[in-house]
Symmetry: C2
Subunit: 276 residues, 2 copies
């Protein structure tokens, strides 16, 4: 058990019961999760995607049947993992009969209740990572967040997560949405700042290469220190001389200028708060 209002669960990797699974969706997350679950010994029945190439490509990897019509999904599979975009989910799920099967989704931003109209046994299986189809992911290093109201579903999802070697947490839909928001800051917005820095270097014909050690070290530092405790840069001391030089360079990028000012203000305020 962990502290706080979430539960950190212990692995139950005791009974190597293979689960038969169908995938609804064949994007980045489905691809990486499917490969990892197959490697852990689970079996795949069907893979649905409205794009034939995607359905076929993941189905081939998993030894499953590709499906492009939701109505063609079999209803006798024990577990359906739905990894569709939030908006597409209801449209597709209302055409799929899951019988007595368990239906889980993998989204940070969707409540458990979103599955209620489509199955009796539902759950959430949310692995927190940024996934690309081509890039290997070590599930053993990442956390998986579970939610369900059903004890049998919890048992099975816990076993799947244990098979992947992941840290397992049980959290609420509200917590998961906030977690998803935090991840947008820590991953999506961070990656955008990398893009901005790369674009700025290019203006002076300098290679992005030179920033890579700094980027790695910045991420490595917060593995062992609270990020607020290792904040550096001109905004910490609100060093106007340096900041004005930077702002002048951004004259031709009004949006980056606004971002620079807002982020610097944020750093300065947050630094004052920490010192209190």
């Amino acid at each position: 058990m962990g502290k706080g209002p979430y539960r950190q669960l212990q692995s139950n990797r005791i009974t190597p019961n293979n689960v038969r699974i169908s995938f609804i969706g064949a994007g980045n997350l489905a691809t990486r999760l499917g490969i990892a679950l197959k490697a852990a010994g689970h079996e795949f029945v069907q893979v649905y995607s409205r794009t034939e190439a995607s359905a076929k490509s993941l189905a081939d990897l998993l030894g499953a049947e590709p499906v492009v019509q939701p109505e063609a999904m079999l209803s006798d599979v024990p577990l359906y993992i739905c990894a569709l975009k939030d908006d597409a989910l209801p449209e597709v799920l209302k055409k799929i009969q899951v019988g007595n099967g368990i239906l889980v989704h993998t989204a940070g931003s969707l409540p458990l209740d979103a599955l209620k109209p489509f199955a009796a046994k539902t759950g959430v299986f949310y692995p927190l990572q940024t996934f690309s189809k081509e890039r290997e992911v070590d599930f053993g290093t990442l956390p998986i967040f579970l939610e369900t109201k059903d004890k049998v579903v919890l048992y099975i999802l816990k076993q799947l997560a244990s098979d992947l070697g992941s840290a397992i947490y049980e959290i609420s839909s509200a917590q998961r949405l906030q977690l998803h928001l935090s991840a947008v800051y820590a991953c999506n917005f961070v990656n955008y700042l990398y893009t901005v820095s790369s674009d700025l270097l290019q203006e002076q014909q300098l290679p992005f290469e030179v920033l890579k050690p700094l980027i790695l070290e910045t991420a490595a530092k917060v593995q062992t220190h609270a990020p607020s405790s290792v904040q550096t840069g001109p905004a910490v001391r609100f060093d106007r001389t340096v900041m004005d030089k930077h702002l002048k360079l951004l004259d031709k990028h009004p949006e980056l200028k606004t971002l620079y000012k807002d982020l610097s203000q944020g750093i300065f305020k947050r630094t004052k708060t920490s010192k209190k």
Copy 2:
């Protein structure tokens, strides 16, 4: 030689001539650079800091004499490395006689010319990294940016950088300022986003721990891919359903809300540009 208007220099680690060095400044960068240069066999004469404890602490590490009065700095040392804050630099340097010595600074945001009033032989030695006094830094993985108008100075600075095993670039003051600005985005602003994500997690009593694998993977991805090519998240497709849920959670943080909107707009626009 590299491509572009900068020069990437080859190492000249042939003559193991040890250089006698005095440090002006004893902060994070001076500490880590001093330790690395000492390990490479160089010798230290004096360390100046207006704070006695800082001067003593670094001087002890380097086997040098601590100095708190700039006037007490000896003028017969071959190399003076100045690692003061930009604003403090002129005040301190006008009180230090460097004789025939070489005077270099280590700042991203200061032009080479800032040293002109204080020495005949000047240069810049700018290692690009985020430094903490307590955290070891492998200079072999980071780039050092040199600037000087003097061939002898260039030879010596190149040798120092070679001794540290760093990649060596020769760039102009204008390029260095832009590089510094890029580093503010890629390091200081990124670290602030880590802080924001940590604060948001804390509101739901979730541990920052759970984001660490995501943070590492996000930094690792751009070591091999252009950041614009691996951008993910709701803003890429301007997914209003998800973004509105996130914005609602930020109702009590108007500044974070503005940041969320501006960063999302930035991602969306930049994604459209890349696809053109």
